[in-house]
């Protein structure tokens, strides 16, 4: 082996031009690979941190009947299957060693109605504001109005949605009792000047499981944006949980207890039935200028909602967000929870956050895929160039190789010589590339580049670009480098192995 390395080592210096070409390619390839890896890791960790800690939790529990797993971004607009008996579930879940805290919510897909313009579709998270704030801390920046108190009814409106509502419906929502803050106006709204229509109330039209629909007027309590990834997460607003339950047709905490005994709920069910027959939901005809909703139904709902819930946790939910204790991965937790639900016969299913956020998660995947394709392409080119250069080297060394073979060097000796030569180059220049790449990643992270562009936000995994590398990534780069070197050397080695002593002699 010593002999082979000695020859390889000296050949590296003897053929400086080729060494530099191959070295440069290896350096560049490793650099791109390392930086790409750093971006992907940063993206993963950024998304994980920002989405998990500010939007979804690590794991989302849904009813086991729930088929579509992208519960936080369901495109169908269907209301999720409901979860009942939360008070009995709560202690069981909190007793699990890997669960840190839980937050039961109602996820709703609603339409924001208005008299003139088009309705705007909108995701709402029905929450107890206190519980939400306890769970996520200061993930929101309240721009106007204030963070609602536990008992307050109304909507904490996403600034992104406010702009959308303006674009489609022509009015600008502001919190109750607040003056218009002109700084926050979208460019389009600013152009309206004095003619800008303001509203302190929104009317949400919810679609229940049974296709019944109810519209709920809701006061705007505040306007917020997510501190991180707002461009992507801002399609959600927060509504007090009782209002959203009404809106999507769940009984709220109070009525659930009294419903079976009151005439009101019978009436409600009957009305819901007639609605179901008279509406054609597939075409969505009712949404724009269709039949007005039943007056009686509306009053019933209003009276019901006026009664404050004794305990918000007693009512119906359709998702439970779960934060894990540090050190537990969502993947493991989902496995454990699934087994737990099965053995305890609890009708729930556990969904990983990345799956629950649907499109957003997929976009991240696509982004990663694109990066991977790019890196693979660079490596493909690198392999071709190195392969070509080495093949030429093999042809140029015919005399030398043929003579070695004549003296008695076996084919393996020739192969090993080429592999050693390329291996040394890969270790040195590739290593240098990985080193430079990780320095570059550090440098990029220190620049704190930030963006408001949604595509870039996914790419960054947050508002600021935070690429990073851990040891596993570096190891992965090294392994990939070895693999590429191996691929690049295969063909030249096969060329070199075929050289015979006679080839060497017929050369001169």
């Amino acid at each position: 082996m010593g002999l082979i390395f000695r020859i390889a080592w000296r050949n590296i210096f003897r053929h400086k031009g080729k060494t530099l070409v191959i070295g440069f390619i290896l350096f560049l390839g490793s650099l791109v690979l390392t930086v790409g890896n750093g971006i992907i890791t940063g993206l993963n960790e950024g998304l994980q941190k920002n989405v998990v800690e500010g939007f979804s939790g690590d794991v989302i529990l849904a009813a086991d009947k729930q088929i579509n797993e992208s519960v936080l971004a369901s495109m169908s607009g269907q209301t999720l299957e409901s979860i009942t008996a939360y008070p009995t579930l709560k202690p069981k879940l909190l007793a699990l060693p890997y669960i840190q805290k839980i937050l039961p919510v109602v996820v709703g897909y609603v339409w924001v109605l208005n008299e003139s313009g088009q309705p705007v579709d909108h995701y709402l998270l029905g929450v107890n504001f206190n519980a939400y704030r306890n769970f996520y801390g200061e993930n929101l920046a309240v721009l106007e109005g204030s963070y609602p108190d536990a008992g307050q009814q109304g909507v904490l409106l996403s600034s992104t949605i406010r702009e959308r509502i303006y674009d489609f419906s022509g009015f600008w929502a502001i919190p109750k009792g607040q003056a218009l803050n002109t700084h926050h106006l979208s460019p389009a709204a600013r152009q309206d000047g004095d003619k800008l229509r303001l509203s302190q109330q929104l009317v949400f039209l919810g679609l229940s499981q049974k296709n019944a629909s109810l519209d709920i007027p809701s006061e705007v309590l505040g306007v917020f944006k997510f501190k991180e990834l707002n461009k992507l997460l801002g399609f959600y607003s927060l509504l007090d949980i009782e209002s959203l339950r009404e809106c999507v047709g769940y009984f709220n905490a109070e009525t659930k207890k009294v419903a079976p005994t009151t005439a009101q709920s019978k009436l409600l069910e009957a009305e819901a039935g007639t609605l179901e027959e008279s509406f054609d939901f597939d075409t969505g005809a009712t949404l724009s200028g269709g039949k007005p909703l039943s007056k009686e139904l509306f009053t019933v709902q209003k009276t019901v909602s006026k009664t404050p819930a004794a305990n918000w946790e007693d009512g119906t939910f359709n998702a439970i967000m779960v934060k894990l204790k540090p050190g537990y991965s969502p993947k493991e937790a989902v496995k454990e929870l699934t087994a737990f639900f099965k053995s305890e016969r609890i009708p729930l299913k556990a969904i990983r956050w990345s799956q629950a956020i649907g499109m957003l998660g997929q976009m991240a995947l696509i982004m990663k895929g694109a990066l991977l394709v790019f890196v693979s392409f660079i490596f493909f080119v690198a392999v071709i160039i190195i392969m070509n250069t080495l093949s030429i080297a093999a042809m140029e060394r015919i005399t030398e190789i043929g003579m070695m073979r004549a003296v008695g060097a076996p084919r393996a000796f020739v192969s090993n010589m080429f592999v050693a030569e390329t291996g040394i180059l890969a270790a040195f220049f590739g290593g240098l590339g990985i080193l430079a790449g990780s320095l570059l990643v550090r440098l990029l992270a220190m620049l704190h580049l930030s963006t408001q562009n949604e595509i870039l936000q996914i790419f960054y995994g947050g508002d600021t670009f935070q690429p990073r590398l851990d040891l596993v990534d570096l190891l992965l780069c090294a392994i990939l480098l070895c693999f590429v070197t191996f691929l690049a050397v295969l063909y030249p080695v096969s060329v070199a192995r075929k050289i015979t002593p006679l080839d060497a002699m017929s050369r001169d």
Binding site: G402, M403, M404, A406, V407, P410, P501
Partner: protein
Amino acid sequence: MSLIELKDISKEYPLGNTSVRALRGVSMVIEKGAFMSIVGPSGSGKTTLLNLMGCVDQPTAGTLLVDGQDVSKLNDKDLTRLRLYKIGFIFQSFNLIPVLSVLENVEFPLLLMHSGKPSEIRERAKTMLRHVQMESHMQHRPSELSGGQRQRVAIARALVTQPQLVLADEPTANLDSETGNAILSLMQRLNEEQGTTFIFSTHDPEVLKYARNIVKIRDGLLIT
């Protein structure tokens, strides 16, 4: 005991659409311990014949036995081992490994054979370089040597493994008569003391004085 047996050996080189017949039916037997010279005009087939006997080329027709083995039945691996362990070849165009020093070039076959400790290998190589009067250039690279010096290093490399058979294609062509004589007497001594078989091709009448048998070749045929 015969070391090499040629039975009706032909060798054709393809040349465009036709072919060149370099050997046209050569038969002979070379005994172990021979000190033999092949003479003939340029292009008569001397190198071709040595290449076949040295197992770096295969005959087009006929049977060639080296040390009792039919070379046409050996695979590349066996032929390589045969070349490494039994044959020392001194080529007409004396190639050395450019990146290795003179000493390392001579060590090369010994290292391939893994024969002994590095220090022993080094000693053997140095001794052989002394015999060809090249020990003063041990650390030089081949590119820093004259043609004759390279030839002597190539000779040292062929002899250092103490092969049964040494094939030398015009070994003295680039040497002055004094050095040539020194090398030939070294070969003669190895032949006498160790029974090494030597086969040369040559034009040089000096060399012929050392030869015990002379084979003449012309247009690919032996002349008796």
